[in-house]
């Protein structure tokens, strides 16, 4: 009797079962999604979908190719629903590698676009997010870049740039807490088409709150910003113009690899409620190329160190003034004010205050290696 009931229940489960089944083989995987705003109020979605090639069955592993599809809708979800009607198979955006925002779209509030990603459990929060230099559609329409399908290529470019400390490690997940935090802002990598019809990271797009400010940092500057925010990966590379007096251009520069050593951000509140911040950075530096001279003596090393320090600090000052111009509190100074001086914070309008405060960067380096020659 007991067994019959159990059997019946099992049969019931099996026969009615698999409500949530979502067969991998029936999916149409979206891997790159771009959103644009063409000013008509509709969201224009460009999607890079992976499909198996037509006549590649029976090989065990069919080749995949990319199909670019367009759809529109008032919300991302609506445009997705419109897309689903066209796609042969189950449209699956849960493995998207990269989201691209068109420049115009990014200048408006971006949170509404991401709402669905945060709300729906199956979306991948580790997807990268970038701002297109121009329109997202143009980037995805390249379809194949350097013999790689466009989204894959994009991901590789982003990852290698992250490893070289050109851009911060940003994903949907990591952006979310910052979007919600009044005392901190973020930046997204900006990617454009290069002259070779390939993709290229052009810099870091600075955001204020949920909006793109339109101000970018160049690659070198972005690296400095990351170092100031203690965000560098293993190392950062810089080309520094330490000898402007030289005539030949090649002799003006030194190339260094910088490794983080110490990071210190201090907030001060003066008696008249003026906020100032000081960022002290210590770096270990390998000299990778110094065409001008050799570095055998201690004195030469000291002069070079001094020059590097000056050059880096100068650049840092410039970077900080840029962020203040963009009103992008990338370093999270507001967050610290909130934590340490809550009373002052309550009285402040941080958006008004940030551009006016004084931030002094100080970068000190120590040359610890000059390669295998002196």
């Amino acid at each position: 009797m007991k067994k019959t009931t159990i059997l019946l229940i099992i049969c019931l489960l099996i026969l009615t079962g698999c409500w949530d089944q979502d067969q991998l083989k029936d999916t149409r995987l979206a891997v790159g999604v771009g959103y644009d705003d063409y000013g008509n109020g509709e969201l224009y979605q460009t999607t890079d979908i992976r499909v198996p090639k037509l006549d590649s069955s029976a090989t065990g592993r069919p080749a995949v190719t990319s199909v670019i599809m367009h759809s529109t809708g008032a919300t991302p979800r609506q445009s997705r629903m419109n897309l689903e009607k066209e796609v042969a198979g189950n449209y699956a955006p849960n493995k998207v590698l990269v989201y691209i925002l068109g420049e115009e779209l990014a200048k408006k509030d971006i949170y509404p676009i991401f709402d669905v990603l945060y709300r729906y459990p199956r979306n991948s929060l580790s997807a990268k997010i970038v701002v297109a230099n121009g329109r997202a559609e143009d980037l995805l329409s390249l379809k194949v870049v350097e013999e790689k399908l466009v989204s894959d290529a994009l991901l590789k470019i982003i990852e290698s740039a992250e490893n070289d400390t050109f851009i911060p490690r940003v994903s949907i997940q990591s952006v979310c807490p910052i979007i919600f935090n009044e005392g901190q802002d973020f930046g997204l990598p900006k990617i454009g088409k290069s002259d070779n019809d390939a993709l290229k990271i052009t810099g870091l797009a600075l955001f204020n709150g949920k909006k793109y400010t339109g101000i970018d940092l160049g690659e070198d500057e972005a690296s400095i910003l990351l170092i100031l925010n203690n965000e560098e990966s293993k190392m950062a590379r810089f080309n520094l113009k330490v000898n402007p007096e030289e005539k030949r251009k090649i002799l003006q520069y030194v190339t260094v690899h910088a490794f983080p050593k110490k990071h210190d951000l201090k907030i001060k509140l003066s008696n008249n409620q003026q906020i100032s911040a000081e960022v002290k950075i210590k770096l270990k530096v390998h000299v990778a190329a110094y065409p001008k001279d050799n570095l055998s003596s201690k004195k030469e090393l000291q002069t070079l160190t001094k020059k590097i320090n000056e050059e880096l600090t100068r650049k840092a000052e410039h970077v900080i003034s840029e962020t203040q111009r963009a009103n992008c509190d990338y370093l999270g100074i507001g967050k610290r004010v909130q934590a340490y001086y809550p009373k002052t914070w309550a009285k402040l309008d941080w958006n008004q205050t940030y551009p006016t405060i004084k931030i002094t960067p100080k970068i000190q380096t120590q040359i610890i290696e000059t390669g295998i020659i002196k």
Partner: protein, 362 residues
Amino acid sequence: MNEKSITLNQLFFVIVQAQIGISLLSIPFKAHKYAKGNAWISVIIAGLIVQIFVLIIWMLMKRHKGKTILEISQTVLGKYIGNLVNFSYLLYGVLVMSNVVILYADIIERWILETTPKTVMIFLIIATGIHLGKQNLRVIARFFTIVNVLVFLLFVLSFFAFSNNLSFTNLLPISQSSFTDMFKGSTQVTSALLGFEILLFIFPFVLGQEKQMLKKMTSAIATVVIIYLYFAVLTLATFSQKEIAIVPEPVLYMLKGLNFRVVERIDMIFLSYWIIPMTTSFVVYLYIASSAAGKMFHKGKRKYPVWYLSILVFGIAYFFSDAIQIQTFNHYTAVISLIFIFGIPLFLLLLSIIFKNRGIRA
């Protein structure tokens, strides 16, 4: 009684596992509603409050050696009122059981199986619960002990969260919420610490002296509070203030963003296995309710009540489906449980002190 005794170490694990369950996943969320960034202080306060409750329970049990609350109530209050109290514990067990099942089915539905009917999920949960609940205490204790591996696993996973940008400044300043807010927050955490009331029912079956038991109980509560504190701090540092206010399961959400070379979406794998600790919370209350029912109607045997109480819970859980209902139900359950973990034991303790253990009649 047909229960077998358990060891002191098993007592420790039973208490830990009875408390840890579904609520660990949402630990700072509820407290954050009131205490903001100070939610972690609320956790500590809640730990202290619970420790006081445990002390009361311990003093009560020490006065009446070898008896469960079901027998104490009868000794102190007489047969009829005692039975009334026992019956209320039965109802309480059923209520919390239903609450656990509802939350549990809800979290699975929201996170993993969206379209699977809740009835099926509830059925599976209850079936698993019955399978464990009908066993004797010793088997339950053995199972509770091994389940702690999963808590350890969660710890290991949480280490990877340190690769996120953690900003511990989120915990500051301490003045961001008033003490009353922190206290309100801690009442929320207290409901996450529920489950230790199983002590009222298993105390006589533990092999050991009262003092050792108090030590084990305290260390169990402390362990759970430390675990909660750790996750509260970690999630508060991971998410910003405004974000945590809209994320009901911060721990899961934190895992969702983690990425490894070979496995992604750790949250899903983890939540699947976390149903085991969630089952244990269900079984705790099944044990409580079925002991009460068994004591009153079946001469101490839990065999039948386990079945019909579960069917009753299935019925109750079936009716609660939408999010608002679930929240209300959860809220009232938390309030009511205070009576049972704190009110009744304290009342009985006072009475037994006044009447010197002999009960009202004497």
